[in-house]
Amino acid sequence: MSALHQFLPVLEPGAIGAHSLEVQRLCHELGLASEIYAEEVRPVWHGRGRTLKEFRGRGDDVLLYHVAIGSGVADFVAGRVEPLVVDHHNITPASYFAEWEPDVVHGIAWGRQQLARLAGRTTLGLADSGFNRGELEALGYGRTAVAPILLDTSTFERAVDEAALERLGGRGRAWLFVGRVAPHKGQHDLIKAFAAYRRVYDGDAVLRIVGASSADRYVAALHDLVSALQLDDAVDITGGVSDGELAAHYRAADVFVCVSEHEGFCVPLLEAMHHRLPIVAYGSTAVPETLGAGGLCLPGKSPTTVAAAVDRVLRDPALQRALADAGERRLADFDLSVTRATWRAAIESVVA
């Protein structure tokens, strides 16, 4: 066996795109040929991947398919004869979007159906987390393993946009959440918890919700919620930001708060650890696993509990330092030197 080729719907900058490039690099180090094929390669990454029609497989190649949404690529790899490895990055349940963002329901439902259909065709099911692995096993995948996403955590170190940092400074304690603005990420619950915190603990605090969104209706509801709670001056829903602005947000924040209800891994937790931000998170789905001992993991996310937890952290500098230290230690578990070893073993097990 001499090649492992990867397949995904779109090759673009982002966690899965960067992961696929790392997998490719690892394959090359192992002496394997490795190309990335996608339905679409974003112009900014032109030359890093190829289109599906360019694929010329040989029977002894291994195909690795990255699952995150429904796509014609799944049908493509399902119809091939080569051994198949599925890397499950998780698909958010459609129920979160049915009313808010009905346009994406089809892609989600399609993806889940494809994931189930690939079970019988797959040699090895890889998962970012034990939570994702549980989903694979429930769908009937025979051989599975946890292989965390390959992330070069040094890329979290970005040049800070100084102008943005200056704009963000000089206000009260800052809560930060980074991630796509979507119903399952629970930004509405975050705002509720923040409202409780402002009412009882710190009337000058600010909340920054950073991330792009395609759920316009949900974003509008968040803005309405902020206005109804008279928090317009305290809550900033930024939308997508530049790398420099993102770095400024991490630098300006005092605590990273996550009350998401569904995560297959949750990369922003690692980024917060990298920036030595104390983390307060609701322990849903894969969050406790990714967080490990690197943050405060809450069993519930009632506004009062989250508010009290954030206060507990912010009024205790020693606890903040301890959580930041614990976060750094946890982040080390996802260092490329560790995760590449896991991936190396997984790859060798299918190409041997």
């Binding site: 509405h188 509720k192 409780a196 209706r217 509008a220 919620l225 507990r312």
Partner: protein, 306 residues
């Protein structure tokens, strides 16, 4: 802080929330009020089980548009798409008509099903809570001291369901206690008295409570009137939401005195109280231990530990 003991920190957060609730900093109903504010802006079906709202949403989205969009940043691609639409339009119309027809039939079937459920609710004796408005609501109080003693020392949230007029909540005020009550007049009077009572049906509320989130629970009122299926569901929910070592008390009227003490409620309710032996059996089946029964003045308490 050299050794980070997160369980200790979590315990301190629990204590802090309890103290803030007791002091009124986190006033009763604050969380419910925050939920209600967001509910004003969320789609109807996100906030409950509004069947008609959901069916209407399904109706709105059941039409599949056969007309393909032809916009493109590149004029040539737009022209290509228009040609493609012209060439393949008949095929898309053929397919979408079938899918739309299917969707329409499914929506119609759902409406029919909804009407049948409504009729079933109409003929189910006492299923309409409005029939019981102003009737009953007095849970047996003769055994309150037994309940208070059983729950003494519970460290964590304690739920009283149903809360009724709040009398038992007051007796348990040393604990971090809250109530659930679906009768609006009782909720209002409890709120005016400064008690933390949520306006919700007990089973609906329990479905939303996290696993192991409660340290204690009192089931009262509802266990006199609910159908057998709902009573069994209460036990299952209690087993799920109570953490290890938590306390449960079931406070009910004895079946023998139920009709005599509450004739209207007894006639109009869909269910009736179970015998204490039945609770002992059900609780044992769900893993509760140290189950004991105390009977007094036509009422009983079944006390158990999770």
């Amino acid at each position: 802080m050299s050794d980070l003991d997160l369980s200790q920190v979590l315990q301190e957060i629990d204590d802090e929330v309890r103290a803030r609730r007791a002091s009124g900093d986190f006033p009763p109903g604050m969380e419910r009020d925050l939920d209600l504010v967001f509910a004003r802006f969320a789609p109807v079906s996100v906030n409950g089980d509004d069947l008609e709202g959901l069916i209407s949403a399904a109706d709105r989205t059941s039409f599949i548009d056969p007309v393909l969009p032809t916009e493109s940043r590149l004029p040539a691609v737009s022209i290509l798409k228009r040609v493609e639409r012209k060439l393949l339009g008949w095929a898309f119309r053929h397919l979408t008509q079938q899918v739309t027809a299917f969707g329409g039939v499914v929506v119609q079937a759902l409406r029919l099903l909804g009407r049948r459920v409504e009729r079933l609710e109409e003929v189910s004796a006492g299923a309409d809570p409005a029939l019981l408005a102003g009737v009953g609501g007095n849970a047996p109080a003769a055994l309150d001291d037994v309940v208070v003693a059983h729950l003494a020392g519970c460290s964590g949230r304690v739920l009283v369901a149903e809360a009724g007029d709040g009398a038992l909540l007051r007796r348990l005020s040393d604990l971090d206690v809250y109530g659930v009550e679906s009768r609006a007049t009782l909720v209002e009077s409890a709120a005016l008295a400064g008690l933390d009572v949520r306006d919700d049906a007990v089973l609906d509320h329990l479905r939303l409570v996290e696993e192991g989130a409660l340290a204690g629970m009192v089931l009262v009122g509802i266990v006199d009137r609910a159908p057998v299926g709902a009573q069994v569901a209460l036990v299952a929910h209690a087993a799920r939401v109570l953490g290890g070592g938590s306390r449960l008390a079931v406070v009910a009227t004895s079946p023998e005195s139920w009709g005599r003490a509450n004739p209207i409620e007894a006639d109009l309710s869909p269910g009736r109280p179970l015998h204490p032996e039945t609770w002992v059996h059900l609780l044992g089946q769900h893993g509760f231990v140290d189950v004991s029964v105390t009977e007094r003045d036509g009422a009983y308490v079944v006390a158990a530990t999770r």
